[in-house]
């Protein structure tokens, strides 16, 4: 039985559009904050994971690609990757990295550091990205944030694609920091 599709099933396009826009103008990276704030709003005020369950383009992309291109082994990931320790540890690591992006932007804002027009993949590899910053009428700290945030979004998408291929399509969702955070909020709201 085929399920009826709604426009909500095409939000995977957003994930691709986001990276393309940011490639040409890094300031579009700010739009990724929608994917940070919306899930939290649903969890805090609705006590649900409506974002993960219906809206998340990334989750949809990971479901869809293996269906179209058979690019996933379909094997269950090893236990440690699915454990709570790893999930919570990864969430903590991710939050520290996010704080660091804010800190770096703050340094640029205060003039303690000059703008670094590159992105960093897997928190290790620097890739020059200067073409993406041409709108010089925006403050430099906002561009610094954008470079950092784009790096975070791209790195996490790549990790997601790797585990999609190695294991089951949506393995990323098991330890996705947004998914973990919203589940913690929902469990807290429904405790007792």
């Amino acid at each position: 039985m085929k399920k009826n599709k709604s426009w909500l099933d095409y939000l995977w396009l957003w994930t691709i559009i986001y990276f393309v826009l940011g490639f040409f103008n890094i300031l579009f990276a700010w739009l990724g904050m929608i994917d940070f704030i919306l899930p939290l709003l649903f969890a805090i005020f609705g006590g649900n994971k409506f974002f993960c369950n219906k809206l998340c383009g990334r989750g949809q992309l990971f479901s869809m690609l293996p269906k179209k291109f058979k690019c996933s082994t379909g094997k269950t990931a090893p236990g440690w990757l699915l454990s709570r320790y790893f999930k919570y540890g990864f969430l903590a690591f991710f939050m520290i990295m996010f704080m660091n992006i804010i800190y770096q932007s703050w340094l640029v804002f205060g003039g303690a550091k000059s703008l670094n027009e590159s992105i960093k993949l897997f928190w290790t590899f620097n890739i020059p990205f200067h073409w993406a910053y041409t709108a010089k009428n925006f403050p430099e700290w906002s561009a610094q944030f954008a470079f950092g945030f784009y790096s975070l979004m791209l790195t996490s998408a790549l990790i997601g694609l790797i585990v999609m291929m190695l294991y089951r399509p949506r393995t990323w969702c098991v330890f996705c920091p947004m998914g973990t955070m919203t589940q913690i909020i929902c469990r807290y709201k429904n405790r007792g």
Partner: protein, 67 residues
Amino acid sequence: MSKRFVRVNKNLCASCGACSKECPRNAINIFRGCYAAVDEKLCVGCGLCARTCPAGCIEIILVEEDS
């Protein structure tokens, strides 16, 4: 007669909703963002959800019923 259905390990479930998207019978609902809840009356035990679940936390159960 025997009946087949699935059971979710709530502790491992990430409430991602991948299973409920696959279920042809719409038997799975993500209970308040906490875990996947299976409606055993609707579930036919086809196992699609179990094969999809990235956390591997869905198990197929076979119950023998005397009638």
